[in-house]
């Protein structure tokens, strides 16, 4: 096993900067409580609101790691668009009643699921312990911070990220826009009433409303 970054346990010491430490501890608690609530909550609406809690916690962690633009996008796209879409579909279908989560249609499903989760976590931890991250070779995308001694006075992350996305990753960016168009068309086709005529002849189809709320949120990404 290669002695890697996670292998020496010096990172377990509490860092000297107490503000950063407390920020991490509180946002990690928010993230974990929200995530457990998504899994444990019987009511889908409350599960969606717990998901918002987790997403806000992750956004705080993004800010703590100087990814300010991604934190803003996380709030706008996830909390503002995706969760609203979830809530819209829950209300639209009327499935917001509580479901029994202790009932097991497959016998032993819950036990094997928790066992698999524990194995997944241990496996990830072992993979992290045995790996050495970073080869020292600079990537084609560029550095995030050209002045590592003063991380908070460096070039803003949105400048660096924008340059990278519109030069190195330009092709991926264009493919992404094509993907969004395909997703919007697919949602329109899927959400139409089966056996209905062409789109132009449907005058009062409430399904179209859902697709129209989905579309502008995509554009904002």
């Amino acid at each position: 096993m290669v002695p890697g970054a996670l292998f020496h346990f010096s990172w377990l010491k509490i860092p000297a900067n107490r503000i950063d430490f407390l920020t991490f501890v509180f946002s990690a608690a928010i993230v974990l409580v929200g995530a457990v609530n998504v899994v444990r909550q019987r009511n889908p609406v409350l599960a969606a609101l717990s998901l918002v809690m987790t997403l806000f916690g992750v956004a705080v962690l993004f800010v703590e790691q100087q990814a300010n633009f991604l934190a803003a996008v996380q709030i706008i796209v996830y909390a503002g668009a995706i969760v609203v879409l979830f809530l819209f579909v829950i209300m639209f279908l009327g499935v917001d009643r509580e479901e029994s989560i202790s009932e097991e249609p497959l016998r032993g499903q819950r036990f094997w699921a928790y066992l698999l989760m524990a194995l997944t976590f241990v496996g990830l931890l072992l993979a992290g312990l045995g790996s050495r991250f970073g080869s020292g070779v600079p990537s084609v995308a560029g550095t995030l911070n050209d002045n590592p001694a003063h991380p908070r006075s460096a070039t803003p992350d949105v400048v660096v990220l924008g340059k990278s996305v519109f030069t190195t990753y330009l092709f991926a960016f264009e493919i992404t826009s094509a993907l969004l168009v395909i997703a919007v068309v697919g949602a329109v086709v899927l959400a139409r009433r089966p056996g209905a005529g062409p789109l132009a002849e449907e005058d009062d189809d409430e399904v179209e409303v859902e697709v129209e709320t989905a579309e502008p949120e995509e554009v904002s990404t």
Binding site: L85, L93, T120, L180, A183, G186
Partner: protein, 101 residues
Amino acid sequence: MSVPYQWDIVLSMLLFSIGAVGVLVRRNILVMFMCIELMLNAANLAFVSFARHLNDVAGQAIVFFVLVVAAAEVVVGLGIVVAMFRRRRGATADDFHLMKG
């Protein structure tokens, strides 16, 4: 300097495991989708942590694309749920146990 990046990595491992067990345990398809979002967020958190640790903008660029793909995935997935609900009157995985019929 903020906390060691390993803390965020371990947190993202925990978040991924919770999301995975949610997909396996829950029967409501909408909640299963939410758990997939949890796993995507765990991956995003790991990407941002490594981007900071390795001082490389590629991690943040990938998070940007993951956000877009997650949005597209949710739109198509919820469209499928709406279409299936109209046919079966239910949104749990047990209602969708036949591929045809």
